[in-house]
Point group: C2
Chain length 310, copies 2
DNA sequence: CCGGATGATCGAAAGATTCGATGACGCCCC
DNA sequence: GGGGCGTCATCGAATCTTTCGATCATCCGG
């Protein structure tokens, strides 16, 4: 049985596929050109296939099968590096750079406490935070540009592993002088005739608000000319205070003091399932998946007091 | 930078994880016990983690992280072998064992011609055929026990790559003396009041028949005591001939002569989308994916004459 | 307390990898 | 058209790694 291609050979092939030049690829691999050339030749001999088209001048031209092998080689090398990464992560858990993504309707209310808590608990961790819409942070997650995403479920998180953290109720925010403000709790049917202020497209909270409203048959999306769409929860609250409409806010935002001293009141919504689930998502093959599970208990809404240490 | 673990080391680790015995693992790897022992030690030293618990007697006990690393090692070794397999497949396309799965409502009508055609076209291919329900063949496909599946879409084929081959119309088969037999084509609304004979649960054709019938509002699934459910298309045709009900048959089956000389007539269905798409499915990472695409043109219904060779 | 089984360790031989130097080949410009 | 240049292949020597067989250390059951 011929030996499997070595990690070194795969590195050579991938560098050559990227740079299309033996000398520069060798430089990138920190070896001499002769070594890289011999490595590619050895790979061709071992696999018994032609990876490069050598007749066309002296330019580096991959054969179709060469491209295919290079693509598989990338995957194999990645898998090998993951073995190493798993070992590294276990030897030094909760260290190194953690690139965390978060959506705008969670970030401002969770991150401040989270960052300081993580720094206190895990001094060797370095945090990089990226706030963006659900779709964007999830894209970056699967592309490997983020390690961990804090988001609101339900959401389309194919190809990721998720862990629910806590339930975050939606609460109705309305102008203080609004007739409904007299009620202690407001049933979803009463919202049917009201104008709702929405976040702009792409915010999952927008879709979740619409989903809650659509549980009431009488409700329909406002015409585009009548629509009130804003880009941040802060603006949204301001507009409610101005009497321009009602809005659903996550309890998380309310309890973080987003209402300030504006002339608005906040009421629970009854008669429907009005909440989102805050959760974590990561790549299932992430070497640090075990770390992320350990990290989860430290991600909390600011209002929840820490459980006593044991 | 410490070197990545070698394929050999991963093999040693996996053999040890499987056999839990240095001597036998070494035998399985065709090396001496000392070599395997040294290999494991070297891996532990390179990764700088403890893979085995050595204090407990002399039994081979993996640490939790050892198990984790072994699992990743399996994946990495698999990826390396795939590089090799891609090369092998390209060097000798259309050779070796091809394990093909097929569903019962396609197999009898396509396989006979397909097998002889493939043997003629690719003499070095060895075929292994497995006929089973859609769910079962797809399970075997993703588990790697099949290479290629011939099935009817739409279907839930997550985690697989699919290639549509041709559209297969559904045709209504009814007793020769049935009043509707007088019509040249039968609109789906006329089926609303008829009793349909169905395949048993698990056949995708059953679900597709129900889907067609449900396009007609008046239609509802028969009560279980009134249901006529059979296990094969041949029985189904027999029951139609006996006047027990109507059935939808794929054109593929009709043109393969399943109606024999029974007192039934077959009519096109109008007024709805009544067809299935015959297609191929395989694992996206299959080393022979390129082969499968080349193979597709040779999979045809028996009625279609071969295009002239060019 | 001893013999068998199991895994770790050691030195030597075989094999693989790498380097620097050099060869072969096409291309460009004078 | 020929020399210079850029590019990839080849070669021998030095170095590093892997493997083997032998041996040692330890544990377990009688």
């Amino acid at each position: 049985m011929t030996p499997l291609p070595s990690a070194q050979q795969l590195r050579y092939l991938i560098a050559l596929a990227d740079l299309r030049h033996f000398g520069r690829a060798a430089q990138a691999c920190a070896v001499t050109q002769s070594t890289l050339s011999a490595g590619i030749l050895a790979l061709e001999r071992q696999l018994d296939i032609q990876l490069l088209d050598r007749k066309v001048g002296k330019r580096v031209v991959f054969t179709p099968i060469g491209d295919e092998v290079a693509a598989r080689a990338r995957h194999a090398l990645d898998a090998l590096q993951t073995v190493q990464a798993v070992a590294d992560a276990s030897r030094a858990p909760m260290t190194g750079l953690l690139r965390i993504g978060v959506i705008p309707t969670i970030g401002p209310f969770v991150l401040p406490g989270l960052v300081s808590r993580l720094h206190a608990q895990f001094p060797h961790i370095r945090l990089s935070v990226n706030e963006d819409l659900t779709g964007n942070v999830m894209d970056k997650l699967v592309l490997g540009r983020l390690d961990l995403v804090l988001l609101a479920m339900p959401c389309a998180c194919e190809g990721t592993e998720t862990l629910p953290l806590w339930r975050d109720d939606f609460m109705l925010v309305l102008p203080a002088r609004h007739p409904l403000a007299a009620l202690e709790a407001i049933s979803v049917e009463r919202i049917g005739t009201e104008r709702m202020i929405l976040l702009e497209d792409g915010h999952c909270l927008r879709d979740q608000t619409l989903a809650v409203c659509r549980q009431e048959r009488g409700w329909s999306t406002p015409d585009s000319e009548e629509e009130f769409v804003v880009t941040s929860l802060y603006t949204l609250v301001d507009m409610v205070a101005d009497g321009l409409g009602l809005a659903l806010l996550p309890r998380l935002a309310v309890e973080s003091g987003i209402l300030r001293d504006l002339p608005v009141v906040v009421r629970p919504v009854t008669g429907c399932q009005a909440w989102r689930t805050i959760g974590l998502a990561w790549r299932p093959r992430s070497p640090r998946a075990a770390d992320f599970r350990l990290l989860a208990p430290h991600i909390r809404p600011p209002s929840v007091t820490a459980p006593p240490a044991d």
